[in-house]
């Protein structure tokens, strides 16, 4: 057995142990709330990478994810789920963090593609991040390059199940409680300005 796999397995076990404690401690109202938030999901589909090309098929007539109550919306304010569809370059990561922080709780993140898990095909690229969960809370990974639409749908179904049964600790709770950790990671990579600066003025014009 190799070192890395052992570490990984331990990580997995600790995650599973953590979630078993939460499972049974929900009231009837919480159960109902969970049921409704699993049944209706508003998605802000931020096409950060190649994964964006498999989103139109998922949302249209071939795969029709609206059956499951998943609808696309335009703004992060209205959304429950953000799909980070593929690798994030450093410039995109700033926007992803901003989008994530604009969403109101409860919010979930589905990371699409191998490149969000460990860099995937771009593991030695200087401009893409390798591990999304260091910077924002991630609830579901869909592996593959590209993942098929069925895989994305499966990801949604699994996420809905786990929300309904309350079997995961949602990423946004981790993000809120461990904000210092996430912020330190963000600042280590992006510098002090972890969110895009729009005052920067290229052609010598003022925003006012």
């Amino acid at each position: 057995m190799q070192k890395g796999f052992v570490a990984y397995n331990n990580e997995q076990k600790s995650l599973e142990a953590e979630t078993e404690g939460i499972k049974n401690s929900q009231t009837l109202i919480q159960k109902a709330m969970n049921w409704f938030s699993a049944r209706s999901m508003f998605v802000v589909a931020y096409g950060t990478g190649c994964g964006a090309i498999e989103m139109p098929p998922v949302f249209t007539s071939r795969y029709d994810i609206e059956r499951l109550g998943v609808v696309g919306v335009a703004t992060p304010r209205q959304a429950d789920i953000m799909i980070v569809s593929g690798y994030c370059s450093l410039k995109t990561l700033r926007r992803v963090i901003r989008t994530y922080e604009q969403m109101s709780e409860p919010k979930y993140v589905i990371a699409l593609g191998s490149c969000t898990i460990n860099g995937g095909m771009y593991w030695d690229s200087y401009n893409t991040i390798k591990k999304l969960e260091e910077y924002i809370g991630v609830d579901m990974y869909v592996a593959g390059c590209m993942p098929r639409p069925e895989a994305l749908i499966e990801g949604f179904v699994k996420l809905q199940e786990s929300i309904r049964n309350n079997t995961i600790q949602p990423g946004y709770v981790k993000y809120r409680e461990d904000y210092a950790y996430y912020q330190a990671n963000q600042e280590k990579l992006l510098g002090k300005e972890t969110q895009p600066v729009y005052e920067e003025d290229y052609a010598g014009m003022n925003l006012s």
Binding site: S37, R39, R67, G69, V71, V73, R77, Q78, S104, E105
Partner: protein, 292 residues
């Protein structure tokens, strides 16, 4: 009386969302797919009510959706549900068509107040578009309604309904109906007049900063408001309803007609839609007015 009003509101809420669900289902069939469940819109609204709100732009922002919702609620309360009925007439004996038309404008104005306070340019743009479009919508609709008022020599909705016992206004005044229907499409916010919240252009417009409970309130008011508009059209042109089934049938037919138009046509720009509304339906309405 009070129970009556409550039933009217609940019915408007329920039917509004049911129709919205139907709209999603019918469009899904046009698209060649299965579509969500009929109750999906209920789930959406309940879920949105349980969400947190992450925004704070001052009290004016909170007041916006509330004014919007009260506009919709007042509109629906002043429209009688049934033909010469004792029940579910709401406040209509105390008001008339002119009051209803006034309340219909209240919603967008309240929206404008709320949206103006958050400073997002997309929201301001959406509101500007909405008010500009309202200018175009009101002209043909008001002319058509005035035509009806002149024909019936009354501004009371109950009287107009009662006068249609033999021939519906849709047959008696077809031109007025066409004009009113085109602007009714615009009032519903369907293609080709859906310029206000166009996601590809202004990023869902006025609702750009609304999330969680505010969005839920906005959705509920739009459901109630859509049903109110359907009711008004049925009352004015289809002779009102005798029974519950009659009501459902007539609103449904009108609704389906609007859904199909919305699915086939693209979106005009703001200028084009106002241009179109001020030319085509207004001219039709004026010609219709001459025949009255």
């Amino acid at each position: 009386m009070f129970i009556d009003l409550l039933i009217m509101l609940v019915m408007a809420y329920g039917f509004g969302f049911l129709y919205y669900g139907l709209y999603r289902n019918i469009s899904a069939r046009v698209h060649g797919r299965f579509g969500p469940s009929l109750a999906q819109s209920f789930y959406d609204s309940i879920k949105l009510f349980t969400k947190d709100t992450s925004t704070d732009f001052g009290w004016m922002f909170f007041a916006g959706p509330i004014i919007m919702a009260s506009g919709a609620i007042l509109t629906v309360l002043f429209i009688p549900y049934f033909n010469h009925g004792e029940r579910l007439v709401g406040l209509s004996p105390y008001g008339n068509l002119i009051v209803v038309l006034y309340f219909m404008v209240l919603g967008p104005l309240g929206n404008a107040l709320g949206v103006g306070s958050h400073g997002n340019p997309f929201g301001a743009m959406g509101i500007t578009r909405g008010l500009t479009r309202l200018l175009g919508l009101e002209m043909p609709f008001y002319i058509a309604v005035v035509g009806l008022m002149i024909a019936n020599e009354s501004a009371d909705i109950g009287t107009i309904m009662a006068n249609q016992a033999e021939t519906y206004n849709i047959i008696a005044h077809p031109l007025l109906f066409i004009a009113a229907f085109i602007s009714f499409l615009g009032f519903l916010g369907k293609s080709p007049f859906d310029v206000v919240g166009a996601p590809q252009e202004v990023y869902s417009g006025p609702a750009v900063e609304f999330g969680g409970k505010f969005l839920a309130l906005a959705l509920s008011q739009s459901a109630i408001f859509s049903f109110a508009k359907l009711l008004l059209m049925v009352d004015l042109f289809l002779g009102g309803a005798d029974s519950l089934w009659d009501l459902i049938l007539k609103t449904f037919v009108l609704f389906v007609a609007s859904v199909f138009v919305g699915n086939v046509y693209g979106r005009f720009t703001t200028a084009q839609s106002v241009d179109f509304l001020l030319k085509v339906p207004t001219v039709i309405a004026i010609v219709g007015l001459l025949f009255v």
